[in-house]
């Protein structure tokens, strides 16, 4: 096996403390600042070097064994490189911004904060106009005093579409507030109706009317109601999703699934890890319930249950997305169009961010270029953190990256604050960074970024996460062949020399081979091995051309 041994130590907290210790003796703040910058420079270079060295080591090992390193993972290593540069830049900015902060403290910070908070809480243009009338005037950062009448006219002009929002001063978050008030619109209700119709059609084509609603139905709600904490609830949602996507759209199977779920106490820690062993036992439990036979009673009953599980899992993948994307899918009839509609806008932002020399554009926009290509990322596993549920909540990933995860919580205020802060940072870079050839982004560029954020929040902000089950992605073989192959692999991995090809044999001969070599307990292990293999199929990139909409079932997720 290709066990990786990193060239560098894992988490370097001890060294971090050592560095801090070494800086403790420095009394002169300016000297301290210089030393910090020098150490940060060295640590950044060291991290970059380690990334490069690790990659060289991995590629050498892969080449030796005739294997290929995933390009996406390689790109992620590159992202880490970018992020470390950004972290250094931020540190430089923070310690260089000291003078500015000190001079600003001569004004009245409490007054500023209270004004900012009051403006932030305003919900309409009318309310804002009334507020401006009450306070009388606002002083901009450059000292210009905006009188009530002037401000009222400017706000009305922007609100009526006659003036650009840049006429409004940024002081106390006023411009952001005006922009927010004029650009926030309700999601188009007819779209939701169309989506619902399309969903039903897709379900009918799969012979599974209402199956896609199973996770938001009353049976699962009862299970979720037993959960005493958000963590327990999340575990229940995760396991429910796993089961729903592993069973067929059949009332008997749904009833068996609910029965199994009712037996799990999600408030205990014991079920927190949905590893392959746990999942195998749960799936066996469902099959025992559906087929009415105990797995362990004989090799025949174990084989029957195992074959069912294999049959249901052949060529199945999962994908997490959102209801707005699903609406695009059902409209176009393609699992994913080559162009999702956001490419041009994000290219524009990318140009701005890169043009300003900011190293972390991937950090700001995520993998939008890959996500908008004609491939989709699918997963062979369907479990909690990092599983498709998480993908679904984070979709579209670039919007979640842009908002540091606030999108996954659908927290508009927090998301907007984060984007504003990032923009503000790029508009007020430290002298050192400017001297290094970078530049601040302009007001117009800042507005472009903010407008793009608003535009897509408007589309995705109310789009619920959904999970897609994609079937028929492999050529189907008789389950007994597939199982016999897994059994042969299991025996080989466990040191038995097997000279065996299931396809040379008749189905009954394969069955005989399994029965002769396996006990029920071992077949459980074969299922675990198979599920491990399935679960290792993460982040596969599949061409959208190979997926037919008829092979897709979607599941709405509980909140």
């Amino acid at each position: 096996m290709n066990k990786f041994e990193p060239t560098a130590e894992d988490i370097k907290k001890p060294e971090a403390q050592e560095n801090l210790e070494s800086l403790k003796g420095v009394e002169n703040p300016e000297e301290l600042r210089k030393q910090m910058m020098s150490k940060a420079e060295k640590e950044t270079d060291q991290f970059k070097k380690e990334c490069a060295d690790d990659l060289v080591q991995i590629e050498a090992r892969a080449e030796k064994d005739g294997l290929v390193v995933d390009g996406v993972d390689k790109e992620e290593l590159q992202t880490l490189n970018n992020e470390v540069i950004t972290a250094k830049e931020e540190l430089f900015q923070e310690i260089a911004a000291e003078k500015f902060l000190l001079s600003e403290s001569k004004t009245s910070p409490d007054f500023s904060k209270s004004l900012e908070a009051e403006i932030s809480a305003i919900k309409s243009i009318e309310e804002l106009q009334s507020y401006i009338k009450n306070i009388g005037s606002i002083t901009a950062a450059d000292g210009y005093v905006y009188k009530e009448k002037e401000l009222a006219e400017l706000i009305s002009g922007v609100s009526d579409g006659k003036l650009d929002v840049r006429y409004i001063t940024r002081a106390y978050g006023l411009r952001d507030k005006v922009y927010e008030l004029i650009s926030t619109k309700e999601l188009d209700e007819p779209i939701k109706e169309q989506l619902h119709e399309a969903t039903n059609e897709a379900s009918k084509e799969n012979g599974s009317e209402n199956f896609s609603e199973i996770l938001v139905g009353s049976d699962i709600e009862k299970v979720l109601d037993q959960c005493q904490s958000p963590e327990a609830r999340q575990k229940a949602i995760d396991l429910s999703t796993i089961l729903a996507t592993h069973i067929d759209a059949d009332p008997k199977e749904i009833s068996a699934m609910v029965h199994v779920l009712e037996k799990v106490d999600f408030n205990l820690n014991s079920a927190e890890e949905f590893n392959s062993e746990f999942l195998a036992n749960v799936l066996i439990g469902v099959e025992e319930n559906v087929n009415g036979i105990s797995f362990d009673s004989s090799i025949d009953s174990a084989l029957k249950n195992t074959l069912k599980i294999f049959e249901k899992q052949q060529g199945v993948y999962y994908h997490g997305t959102n209801a707005a994307a699903w609406e695009d899918i059902t409209k176009s009839g393609e699992i994913k169009g080559e162009n999702r509609g956001f490419e041009d806008d994000l290219d524009e932002i990318n140009k701005i961010v890169e043009g300003a020399g900011f190293a972390g554009n991937t950090e700001f926009l995520g993998w939008y270029k890959i996500n908008s290509s004609d491939k989709i990322f699918v997963s062979g596993k369907c479990d909690g953190v990092n599983g498709v549920n998480q993908y679904a909540k984070n979709s579209p990933e670039w919007l979640n990256v842009m908002t540091n995860g606030a999108f996954s919580r659908r927290d508009y205020d927090e998301a907007r604050k984060i984007v504003s802060e990032k923009i503000s940072q790029w508009q007020n870079r430290s002298q050192e960074i400017l001297d290094a050839g970078r530049r601040n982004i302009s007001e117009a560029e800042a507005d472009t970024i903010m407008q793009t954020f608003e535009k897509y929040w408007n589309k995705y902000g109310n789009a619920d996460p959904i999970v897609l089950k994609i079937t028929n992605q492999e050529e189907k073989v008789m389950p007994v062949y597939g199982l016999a192959r897994e059994v042969a692999l299991y025996l080989k991995v466990n040191g038995k020399n097997v000279d065996y090809n299931p396809e040379d044999l008749l189905p009954e001969e394969n069955e005989q081979f399994i029965k002769e070599n396996m006990a029920p307990a071992e077949l459980r292990k074969v299922i675990i091995q198979f599920l491990n293999y399935k679960r290792s199929q993460i982040d596969e990139r599949v061409s959208n051309k190979s997926i037919s909409i008829k092979d897709v079932v979607h599941f709405a997720l509980p909140k």
């Binding site: 990786f4 894992d10 907290k13 991290f47 290929v68 390193v69 993972d73 972290a87 923070e94």
Partner: protein, 51 residues
């Protein structure tokens, strides 16, 4: 006061470095797992091809 702020900024930088190192390790582990998977696939193919 300045010194305190510098040290806080430094702590944040160190936290970020630690986080990046953790993530790097996760990526490297994932790469390793994927290579393992490819290795297993090769074994599967060999079995299938009767080699």
């Amino acid at each position: 006061m300045s010194e305190e702020k510098y040290r806080k900024a430094w702590d944040r930088f160190q936290d970020k470095i630690a986080e990046l190192k953790k993530r790097k390790h996760e990526v490297l582990t994932r790469i390793s797992e994927k290579l393992d998977k490819q290795h297993m696939e090769k074994l599967r193919e060999k079995l299938q091809n009767h080699e």
